[in-house]
Every structure is written in C-alpha cells, then in structure tokens.
Assembly symmetry: C2
Homo-oligomer: 200 residues x 2
Amino acid sequence: MTARTAGTGRSRGRPTGGTDARAKILASARTAFADRGYDGATIRAIAGAAGVDPALVHHYFGSKERLFVEVVQFPVAPADFLPDVLAEGPGQLGERIARTFLALGEDPSTRDALIAMVRSAVTSPASAAMLREFISRGPLSKIAATLDGPDARLRVELAMAQVVGVVLSRYVLRLEPLASADQEEVLAYLAPTLQRYLTP
Amino acid sequence: MTARTAGTGRSRGRPTGGTDARAKILASARTAFADRGYDGATIRAIAGAAGVDPALVHHYFGSKERLFVEVVQFPVAPADFLPDVLAEGPGQLGERIARTFLALGEDPSTRDALIAMVRSAVTSPASAAMLREFISRGPLSKIAATLDGPDARLRVELAMAQVVGVVLSRYVLRLEPLASADQEEVLAYLAPTLQRYLTP
C-alpha cells in the first residue's frame, strides 16, 4: 500500500525497498533490454544492475515476460498518446503519429525503450508474439476503427511499418543523412506518407 | 582454384572438403544468424552444425564478420538485383524495389537471410555498422544517383525504411492481416508509396 512515487526523479528520504526498488529494477530492465535484447537480458543481470536480489524482481514482476511488458508499456503506453493522436479525427492522423514517434525517438530515455521494443521483437519469437498481441489488440485496432474505406487495418499496419522502418533506419542503423536530418524535415516526408495510407 | 559449384542444391559425389564444406558452413551460418542474431551465433556452433572443425571456418572466412558479410551478401547481393531494378529508369523503380523485396520475403531460403540481416543489424552495433557501410556505399548510392530533385539520398532511405518496416511487420512480427495478405495486394500499396519518395 505504498504510494507510487517512483519515476518522479525526486528523492525524499529514499526508502531502500518498495517503489524505489521497483523503479530501479524497471530502469535497469529498460537498459538491459535495450542493450541485449529480450533473450540476452537476464533477471540476474537486471537485479545486479539495480542492486537488488533477483527474488525481488520475481516478487514485483513475476517473470521476465511481465517485466518486459511493463518496460515496453511505459514510454509508449497507448493510453499516453492514443487519445491525443485520435482526438481530432483522421484528417491529421499521419502527422500526429509521425510526431509522436519522432518525439519518442529524439528523447534518449524513450528512444532506448523504443529500440528495446524493436530489438526484442526481432530477436525473440516469444517477445514478437507479446508485442504483436499487445499492439494488435490496442493501438492498431483503435486507429483502424476510426478509418473509412477498405483494408483499414492493413493500411494502419503499412503506416506503422513505415514508422518502424524509420525508427530502425534513423536510430538503430543510423543511416545518413536520415539519422542527422532535422526532425521537421523527416516529418515533412513521413506525415504525408502515413496520411495517404490512412485516408487514401 | 576449385570451381564454385556450391549452392546448386545438387549432390553428385559430394566431396567432404572444398566447396562442399564451404557451402555447408555458409548454410549453417545463415541459419545461425537468422535464429540467434550476430552476437548469438558462434563460429563453434556454426562449425558444429556444418559438421566441420571451427578452424575450417576461419580458414575459409577469416572471421565471423567476414562470414556474416558473405551470408548477407548472397541473397540480396546488389549485383543480383540492382541492374534489373535500375534498368528502365526511375519511372517503375518503386514497383521494382517492392517486387524484389517481397520476392525475397516469400522464398523461405532468402527470407531467412533477409530476416538475419535485419536481426543482426538490430542486435549488434558492429553488425549495424557493417550493414550501414555495405548498403550506404552500394545500393543506396546507386539508386540515389539515378534520381532528380532535392534530398535524393534521404528519399531513398525513407523508401528503404518502408521496405524494411514491411519486412519486419510481415515476416518477423507477422502482424495480421499484413502477414497473410496476398503479395500483389501488398505491392499495390507499397509500390506507389516508394515511387512517391523516389519521383515526388
């Protein structure tokens, strides 16, 4: 029944357990998944980097899978961006989706989580299945439900494929000039591409 | 000075060394990189699966890096598809690139190599650097050189980002309905998207 003050970046007294330990485990897990992928990151190493016993990781999260879901849900939790993205209807959807993901990519903390998500999906079939389930039920369905015309769900997936490809090319592969291009310049190409899929 | 008969899929007498061993190592490496990523695949395991001594892998390929380049070069070697893709000028470039990569993705043997390429780039910075260098000097430059207008190289990278995103979403993440969609249906959306980047 401790208050959830973790993640505020403020320390007032810092208990050594409770939400503080939980936040440390999450931060350590985020780094481990980003650096080593889903299969490469171990509970033992995550616990070690967080300075806690591995049993505490199991206590808080139950399993590596649950910990991963917690990690990938945080920076791109649908509840954090979908309402804004969908608020003004499909007309500006392409630009809003592009802005959301470029913003996540520019901020080093969310960029790590974004890369970890792609990396884990690519390296682990179990992780790919988790992510597939996660985005299929949530964001993809919700965006597709707002669209008219045939193949709405397929068009949303092609738009998201473009977003994932840009994340990969700009932040992971770091292809130049894409990696160093100004965010607004990338947006000027990306937003209309997404929009054409969404409202052809 | 042995003839390169490896990879024909035919066995006539099968010598236990020479090009046959080399082909076995390559096939084993392709599977290992596809299954485990660049960092996860070891020379020892690749040699073991090929039924040869690890020293023979070093003899033929020198290093894991060289072996990887050999593996990723084979199914999508620029020399194998760029002349055809570029043959008729930029007007049909989008469709030709889309067809090339969807064909690679539909064939299980080249699909493995394609996925291994993406997986290795995502899991290993060294591998990402190799792939970046490989595609930057080769295909990206050669395609960009055929285009008019500003930002030609950036536009090629955004088009390739769309292709990579579709490969990832269709063959790795296996998002439905994209994963099961007919190749021609995907092509009908993908080709015009690439074309608008290449000849806006």
